[in-house]
């Protein structure tokens, strides 16, 4: 398949005319037709003729010329409705484009559709969607992961060359691992959030999903940077990530914390993560012991801060402006609104919100200390393999515990790269998580690229 090729190969092919971008777009639409409805991958699909017309209007010299992409349906787009997978916004057609979408369009990429997700980002399975539960391409009886499940499945099933997810408490990382693709949670502030429907504003990040670390670097170079429409976007200059990636990282110190390999972790995932560490060691890096003593309570802090913020962010859907009433919120969303409202109420603020902020500060210090001893921290991505559809939706607590390795990174605002690292004996993919210091995306991508040059897990495809 043309869409198995890397972004650089596609772009080079377009330039020397060995590949026709029209064929690639046709291929993507064929995959959409084949899988989207069965797996509930996309919520809205762009008219093909419109996409092809856009292609004809583009200059082939553009950085991302002709590359088809999928956006999570949490991004404001003028071409397609933006539902955030909730019936509340069933017929909401935005009047403006999210900054990330604007940048990709300007670079010549072409939007093909909007990916399914847990409504408002509430979940790690894409089961909490008002547009059908997302199914895993590797085993359609299992969840696809989430909340960016649609975009991740779209990459895995080659409906696009890359996708844009959104990661608050693991929403890019979790489905990347469960779909055998690469995903990057960026440093908070690295990419503008303008136009991304807010879940928990202090942790929401906009990041790419792709086939390889190299592809992620190509996309990040385009979407990163400060934005006058986002006061929390960082002024740090944007490096050329593709160039950083081409330099083989030398003798990195990879930190492993034994606390992170406790009883809640699936034994095979645990062994897989350790095997990954061995491979890095073979590649010339040094594995060092670190300690992350309070990481285990990060879930508690996250599940206070995120619902508090979401209860505030969702108050604009008051039934007056978007045509649909609040009873259309999913159970999971209502639960988070209720919990968050309670935690922010006077008399409870100090007991919950303020205490969670203190844990957040402690976590930042804990990781700072750990980063004194290493360059990158290696964590498992998910403690469990994707559950059967419907298994966890009735067990919200188990659902939250699945975020164990994601929430500490979200709370400290660090970047984290998830890449495929092998397979479970049940045939499903496993991914690992490489966490860096703030703005260390370049280093993470270079390390991921080095690993992917030496392994072929990421090239394996589902058997649908």
């Amino acid at each position: 398949m043309l869409l198995d090729k890397s972004l650089k190969e596609l772009l080079a092919g377009y330039r020397n005319k060995s590949i026709d971008p029209v064929d690639v777009i046709n291929e993507a639409y064929a995959q959409i037709t084949k899988y989207s409805t069965d797996l509930n991958v996309l919520i809205s699909v762009r008219d093909k003729q419109e996409a092809l017309q856009q292609l004809r209007s583009l200059s082939p010299s553009l950085t991302l010329y002709g590359l088809p992409y999928i956006l999570k349906d949490s991004y404001s787009t003028t071409e397609l409705r933006t539902t955030c997978a909730s019936k509340i916004l069933d017929n909401y057609f935005p009047v403006y484009d999210a900054t990330v979408h604007q940048k990709l369009k300007a670079a010549g990429a072409i939007l093909l559709g909007k990916g399914n997700m847990d409504a408002w980002g509430h979940g790690a399975s894409t089961e909490n969607s008002d547009f059908g539960m997302g199914k895993n391409p590797w085993d359609p009886t299992r969840v696809v992961g989430g909340s960016s499940g649609g975009p991740a499945a779209a990459v895995a099933t080659r409906m696009c060359a890359f996708a844009i997810g959104e990661d608050t408490g693991g929403s890019i990382r979790n489905p990347a691992a469960w779909n055998n693709i690469s995903g990057l949670r960026v440093t908070y502030g690295r990419v503008s959030r303008y136009g991304c429907v807010a879940y928990a504003s202090s942790m929401d990040t906009v990041g790419p999903l792709g086939k390889t670390a190299e592809d992620l670097g190509v996309i990040l170079s385009v979407i990163a940077g400060s934005d006058k429409y986002d006061a929390t976007s960082a002024p740090n200059p944007v490096p050329d990530y593709s160039q950083l990636l081409s330099k083989k990282p030398q003798h990195l110190k990879i930190g492993i914390a034994s606390e992170m390999f406790g009883p809640g972790l699936d034994k095979e995932i645990s062994a897989n993560t350790k095997a990954f560490a061995d491979k890095l060691s073979d590649l010339g890096h040094e594995i060092v012991d670190i300690s992350l003593p309070i990481a285990e309570i990060s879930d508690a802090a996250y599940y206070i801060l995120a619902p508090s913020e979401t209860s505030s962010n969702l108050s604009r859907y008051d039934g007056i402006r978007y045509g649909n009433m609040r009873e259309l919120f999913t159970q999971e969303t209502m639960r988070r609104i209720m919990v968050g409202t309670y935690e922010l109420s006077s008399g409870y603020y100090d007991a919950y919100y303020r205490k969670a902020l203190k844990i957040r500060t402690l976590l930042i210090k804990t990781f700072q200390k750990a980063f004194d001893k290493c360059d990158v921290i290696l964590l498992p991505e998910n403690p469990i393999m994707p559950p059967k559809l419907g298994d966890l939706i009735s067990d919200p607590l188990a659902n939250m515990l699945a975020d164990l390795y994601n929430t500490p990174v979200s709370l400290i605002g660090s970047p984290a790269l998830v890449i495929p690292s092998g397979f479970h004996k049940n045939g499903l993919p496993i991914g690992v998580q490489l966490v860096g210091k703030k703005f260390a995306e370049g280093l993470l991508l270079a390390l991921g690229h080095e690993y992917q040059q030496a392994t072929d897990w990421h090239t394996r495809s589902h058997k649908l």
Partner: protein
């Protein structure tokens, strides 16, 4: 039983910055041709839109704080204040909760100082219009005002009388106008007032500040200083009656009704509203460096009280000076006269205040020319004036007897008659002196 009034004020002031508080939309709600023309995803609260604070508005807020003698925070932040209302598109208002830009100020009045609790920055709401369209009663929303920068000034309960309230509020308005950051137009609503009122029994020692009572009534919808004073008067009477019966007035929000000249109950507050304040995660904390603060301070113009002192030092009467400082046009006129010839300031001030000069029509130089020629032809020779005055006294015996029986205002009659007889050329000072001598 006698009571003393305890009142604190909340003053909202819309800043006249070019753009709105958190977006680039034009800030001009009062001159918009149509509703909803100055809007964007941010001030409409659309999904995904983010607020970016207006630096100029923050500076203006701090400037007001400085002018009201406040301390300025080193680090401040914005918070979300949650409540449901159709004019609030996000479901929360971006305001400041526990770390306002400015705090602990004070404004002097002739009845004693009024302490300023805080001066903070927030965004205005949209405007609701309840009207009838095609025979149907509808509520329409105009977002031109949504997210316009709004400064809130909160005082301690230091206002003790309607007179003090008026003086204080006027002073605040004059200061803000002098800063040039708001028009403070109460008709249009760019300055809005609220009073928090309660009464305390007067103790044995009136010098001791009474304890704060266990209730408080909030009065809204006040759009003039007079109405503010009226609301204090009527509330004082209402509370006194209730307290005399041994009861406590209900803790509630009342609205001032100009048509009735009194307040009416709007809603009873069972509990303090729970606004679920928390720091707005979309806006990083704001650090006010010494450098930035001194830049803002350098914008601080001479404030009205200092200006009044300057005018008095130039020979202008205190009463005229107080009027002139509130009027930019008069101030400029005075400035120009000062550069031409400062010795005429007293008379130009008097003429401006008595509206004998229309500054739009008479240039200061022409005014001085006219004044000088009048002075040149002025009759100040007592030997010329005396016979004229004697004749007028002889011709008006009844007015003379009125004057002698104590009607001092009849003096004006004689001055007028002398001016008429001399075609306005009699020296007023000498005329007065002669009249005085001759009538007694």
């Amino acid at each position: 039983m006698s009571y003393s009034l305890i009142c604190g004020a909340e003053i909202h002031i819309e800043l006249k910055t070019k753009s709105k508080m958190f977006c680039g939309c034009k800030n001009d709600p009062f001159h918009a041709d149509k509703p909803n023309i100055y809007t964007c995803p941010v001030c409409l609260g659309m999904p995904g839109a983010l607020p970016v604070p207006n630096k100029k508005a923050i500076e203006d807020c701090i400037l007001i704080g400085l002018a009201l003698g406040c301390q300025i925070a080193k680090v401040s932040k914005f918070d979300r204040k949650h409540y449901f209302y159709p004019d609030l598109p996000k479901g929360y208002q971006i305001s400041q909760y526990d770390e306002p830009f400015c705090f602990k100020g004070s404004v002097d009045t002739s009845f004693g100082p009024v302490r300023i609790t805080r001066v903070h920055m927030e965004e205005d709401t949209a405007k609701l219009q309840h009207t009838t369209v095609d025979g149907k009663k509808v509520s329409l929303i105009d977002f031109n005002r949504s997210s316009v920068p709004l400064v809130e000034i909160v005082t301690e309960p230091d206002i003790k009388s309607p007179e003090q309230a008026k003086e204080f509020l006027k002073k605040v308005r004059d200061i803000v106008r002098t800063l040039g950051v708001s028009d403070c137009d109460m008709e249009k609503g760019s300055m809005r007032l609220e009073a928090n009122i309660s009464l305390a029994p007067v103790g044995a020692n009136p010098c001791i500040r009474p304890q704060l009572p266990n209730y408080k009534v909030e009065v809204k919808n006040i759009n003039s200083f007079r109405y503010f004073a009226n609301s204090l008067t009527t509330e004082f009477a209402r509370h006194s009656k209730i307290l005399d019966r041994g009861e406590t007035p209900v803790q509630e929000t009342r609205g001032y009704r100009a048509d009735l000249g009194t307040t009416v109950s709007q809603r009873v507050k069972e509990d303090a509203a729970d606004y679920r304040y928390f720091p707005d995660p979309d806006i990083p904390p704001i650090v006010i460096s010494d450098e930035w603060l001194s830049q803002i301070k350098s914008r601080l113009p001479k404030l009205p009280s200092a200006k009044i002192d300057t005018l008095i030092a130039l020979g202008i009467s205190e009463s005229a000076a107080k009027i002139i400082v509130t009027n930019q046009v008069m101030m400029e006129y005075i400035d120009q006269v000062k550069t031409i010839n400062p010795k005429y300031l007293e008379s130009v001030a008097k003429d401006l205040v008595n509206k004998k000069i229309d500054p739009a029509k008479l240039a200061p130089s022409d005014y001085i020319k006219g004044l000088e020629s009048r002075l040149a032809s002025q009759i100040s020779d007592e030997s010329v004036l005396k016979p004229i005055i004697e004749k007028i006294i002889a011709d008006n015996p009844s007015v003379v007897s009125d004057f002698k029986s104590g009607k001092q205002n009849t003096l004006g009659f004689f001055v007028g008659a002398v001016m008429k007889a001399t075609h306005g050329q009699a020296d007023p000072g000498i005329t007065n002196k002669l009249l005085h001598d001759l009538l007694h």
